[in-house]
Amino acid sequence: MSYLQTEKLTKYFGDTHAVDKVDFAIGEGEVVSLIGSNGAGKTSLVNLISGLLQPDSGRIVFRGEDISNQSVQDRIRGGIARSFQIVNLFDELTVVDNVALSIFAREGKTRWLFTLADHYGAIWEEAHDILRQFGLDPKAKQLAGGISQGERKLLDVAVAYALKPQLLFLDEPTSGVSTREKAPIMDVISSIVRSHRITAVVIEHDMDIIFKYSDRIVVMHQGVILASGSPEEIRSNESVKDAVFGPTHA
């Protein structure tokens, strides 16, 4: 059985078939890239699995359990976390606060009203450790709204990673950053994901990044899965070339 599996997962927005009876599966420890042109349904599929959207029909099975009707919080507790295409941070909290908050929430400590947050030394230590892994520790005391776009992208992933996920969705982790910054960002993310054997689904438009960092690539087109295979198989797939890269792609 797959680690995560969707069965005939469907989401319509009016006449638009954003996700149309999609059967998507991923194995434990795999790093899979979801590609496709704008409007192909990649983000909608991730939104459905992470709980941001409710499906019209179909099932989502994670580690053998049907999570289709679970709340976002229950899915997070079950081990699913995500980052966002447009960076979603707590801009008026510090960089370290952003990560610490994830840990507080993971440990169920955010319910405490009458204990100083600073008294949880182990949590702050873990937050700084995570920031060190992402190369963000020198920025720990700065407000998250005041760091560069590349750093914000990394912090977005760090906040999700602090939840200790088993399945991590990364929605365009290098969008909006310069070409020069993309590879270093992906190197950091890839090394953390692989060293902790986190199953990951990456949505990305940069084909160099996709071919370099993915175990497998799933191609979506107009709400359905067009193809799935290794980077080499996808690179040589003619229907993918036509649908995603256009007929003139070399």
């Binding site: 919080q73 008026e92 606060d97 400590k109 009203l113 906040v159 939840l163």
Partner: protein, 335 residues
């Protein structure tokens, strides 16, 4: 980066707060010895409104919810005390505070259940509408509430000790009662400081900054807003309970929406993105209003002008502006 951003929380340690708070507490303790009775009572009013401002700001500054209905909880505090005096013949201030907390919890549970489902203008309008429901009840059920005549509240017993029948009421209010208010004020400031610096407080700030992301770190948004609503309402109600013996009377004016506007005014005046902003704002507002009322019969117009100037010139409030100026000065001296 927003110019009205809260200072990074890591810069605030318990030691830091003691260094700043202790001298202020000492000054507040000594002031009745140097001020005349009128000014001391005025300061007591300021401290009471500061408690209401602290409660209000848990919602606005820390949770991102603008309430236009906090007069409701202030009024609940005031009327609970008045009802306890009239119908239960209670005189103990401690029982008044306990009764107020219970009544405020009851009202805020009902109001909060409805209001926290909404945000932005919808939340503001709902809180305003619900507060007006309480105002109209106080206004119309005059055989219970005294209507526009209100209900009188005599001098209470503090710590079970009855004030002497011969003791001058002004002396009592400007000394014994002032210190009672001061102790509760310090307790409220301490509790609120703890709350906003707790993991729960951080979760509220996260909800304020980015609701979607807060949801995706596992925070149940509505539950946290609900608890913040309860705490906020209880603080404001305690302020109402302390206010009514000082005022000697409660009327529906304590529940009317314009008083909610005054609480908003106090927080904006001091700076709602600072912990101390609403405290400073409440005390300054109290003196400002007193000055305006003595200066002209068109005092509301004068206060309106002050509010417009404040929003245009000092959008971060008195405390926010002071912090910006201090930071600028530090940078200049560092060069």
């Amino acid at each position: 980066m927003s110019t009205v951003a809260l200072r990074p929380a890591a810069a605030r340690s318990p030691l830091w707060i003691v260094v700043w708070a202790l001298p202020i507490a000492v000054v507040l303790t000594v002031l009745p010895l140097v001020l005349d009775s009128y000014r001391t009572i005025q300061l007591a009013y300021g401290l009471i409104f500061a408690i209401a401002g602290l409660g209000f700001n848990l919602l606005l500054g820390y949770t991102g919810l603008l309430s236009f209905g906090h007069s409701a909880y202030f009024g609940v505090g005031a009327y609970t005390v008045a009802f306890m005096v009239k119908y239960l013949h209670v005189q103990s201030m401690e029982l008044f505070v306990l009764g107020t907390i219970a009544a405020a919890l009851l009202v805020t549970v009902i109001f909060g259940y409805v209001c926290v489902r909404y945000t932005r203008i919808f939340f503001s309008i709902l809180t305003l509408a619900l507060s007006q429901v309480l105002w109209s009840l106080a206004f119309k059920f005059f055989w219970v509430t005294g209507g526009t005549d209100g209900l009188r509240v005599p001098t209470p017993k503090l710590l079970g000790i009855a004030t002497g029948a011969n003791e001058d009421k002004i002396h009592f209010l400007s000394h014994g009662y002032y210190y009672y208010v001061l102790v509760i004020f310090i307790a409220c400031v301490s509790v609120m400081w703890l709350i906003v610096h707790s993991p729960f407080g951080k979760a509220l700030q996260a909800i304020r900054d980015n609701e979607t992301r807060a949801r995706f770190v596992g925070i149940r948004i509505r539950s946290y807003r609900f608890v913040a609503f309860l705490v906020s309402g209880v603080f404001t109600a305690i302020a109402g309970a302390l206010w009514v013996p000082l005022n000697g009377l409660t009327t529906p004016d304590a529940l009317v929406w314009t008083f909610s506007g005054e609480i908003v005014f106090m927080s904006v005046l001091g700076g709602f993105r600072n912990f101390t902003g609403p405290i400073v704002g409440a005390v300054v507002y109290n003196y400002l209003k007193d000055f305006a009322v003595g200066f002209t019969v068109y005092w509301q117009t004068l206060m309106g002008v002050v509010l417009v100037v404040l929003v245009l010139v000092l959008p971060t409030g008195i405390v926010g502006t002071a912090k910006l100026l201090t930071a600028t000065m530090r940078r200049r001296f560092a060069r």
